[in-house]
Amino acid sequence: MANQTKTEKFIIPIGPQHPALKEPGHFEFTVDGEIVTGATARLGYVHRGIEKGCEERNYIQDLYLLERICGICSHVHATAYALGVEKLANVTVTPRAQAIRQVVAELERIHSHMLWLGVAAHEAGFETLFMYSWRDRETVMDLLEGLTGNRVHYSANVLGGVKCDITPEQRDAILRGLDYLDERMQYYMNVVTSDETFLGRTRGVGVLTYEQAETLGSVGPTARASGVTRDIRLESPYLVYSEFPVKVILDDGCDLLARFVVRIKELFESSRVIRLIVDNLPAGELTVRMPRRIPENEAVSRVEAPRGELFYYLKSNGTDMPERIKVRTPSICNWSSVVVTAIGHKLADIPMILAGIDPCFSCSDRSVQICSASGGVSKIWTWEQLRQYGIEYYR
């Protein structure tokens, strides 16, 4: 890392400990003065062996383990897993439960986008917007706390349905909260699109063209801000998205400003869908009986997390513990866009570009197979071996 080449090029390390990153990740930017000429990324600092841990616990325990992959998109992980297991067991969940899952998912999207707005403003040095958007985020967190019982890690799902119901009082509270949030979001939209100092930091920065977004496989709002129509809620509707559809929000700006606009507009969409659902909640039971031992089967479930497409692959083997669970989170797809768009920008734009894809480092670390360095046979470690390796490494 301490390379100072003869041609006066610096390598600026950002991370793994850096005030710009909320979680550890290592980026090396080769700069020439203040212009970035090259970038590399290295992840893997938050690997916790979750996929391996899933194989040692039964399906119900795994629901809570997988929920804790990420704090902000926890419900989406749990929903994707629950949908996958219900597919494996061939169980149909009641519409009421699906609708409540969707309400919580959209509330979580609101929460995630408001958090992101604050963090991106903080990276730009706009502390006031940071404080105000996080103050308003408390509203949605209180709504979720009243509905599910916790502010983060809602644990609203059980295999076969949901735990919590939406009573009329909660419906009123949700509608009131959404009214307040709609007004605030309109205000933030005005601020973000008209404040000249903020526009100076976001307009024309981090341009990711349509072709680049397609080639690099970006997902989520990052891709939609470059005009790529990629939204799982429309492509393969899950939960009750076929009865209560969401409009896809596209923007042609391709730069950081477009990503802000797309995310704030998605908030309006989420708010609209939540209002529609709580007024038209289908009647019925909340849970359906699920077998404890799932027969041999394979399933894939895809959901739209706030950051993009979340992909789960599950394999069962007839016992009450899964054979294999593979998680592919959206942040993994978006890293390459950072490395490509950073070139040519000034150093001061780098934290903004990093924040622009809404990175979730905790989601990004998956690795199970270890190949030996001498090119021998690759073997899959057991849980005990993985734990022992971790203990030895840190001793």
Binding site: D62, R68, L129, Y132, G146, G149, S155, V158, D195
Partner: protein, 141 residues
């Protein structure tokens, strides 16, 4: 072309009270669905052990002295609990509930986190055998 577009909000805040909650001087009550500390009532328990099997953190342990006479003691480790509520969902006889107002559980030692729930006599007999075995007597549930 506007500069200082947050001007209105910012100036108004000069005259408003800060929105920060003054915890611990002022405590808001938590919503009724909040998942706080777990409590166990053995009077309806059948010792099916579903809660123990499904706990993701292995925080529960059932010590069965006499199943038919409902002499069951539950050993609950609050520092392992993730407050997910799966045990409450699993129990078909409503023996478990989470108190939404008891959530200030921080402590500086391990002992305040160990709870034994059950009838008084049963708990005492468990503690006596634990003390004989050399374990520390923990806090009462």
């Amino acid at each position: 072309m506007k500069i200082g577009s947050m001007f209105g909000n910012v100036i108004q805040s000069l005259f408003k009270k800060p929105v920060t909650e003054m915890y611990p001087f002022v405590k808001k009550s938590s919503p009724e669905r909040y998942r706080g500390q777990l409590f166990f009532d053995p009077s309806r328990c059948t010792a099916c052990q579903l809660c123990v099997k499904d706990c993701p953190a292995e925080a529960l342990e059932l010590i069965v002295i006499d199943r038919a006479a409902k002499k069951i003691v539950m050993h609950y480790q609050a520092d392992r609990c993730t407050f997910c509520g799966q045990c409450v969902v699993d129990c078909k006889f409503d023996c478990l509930n989470m108190d939404s107002q008891r959530w200030e559980l921080a402590a500086t030692r391990k002992e305040p986190f160990t709870f034994f729930y059950g009838n008084e006599a049963d708990v005492q007999s468990i503690l006596a055998s634990a003390a004989q075995g050399g374990a520390q007597p923990p806090a009462q549930g």
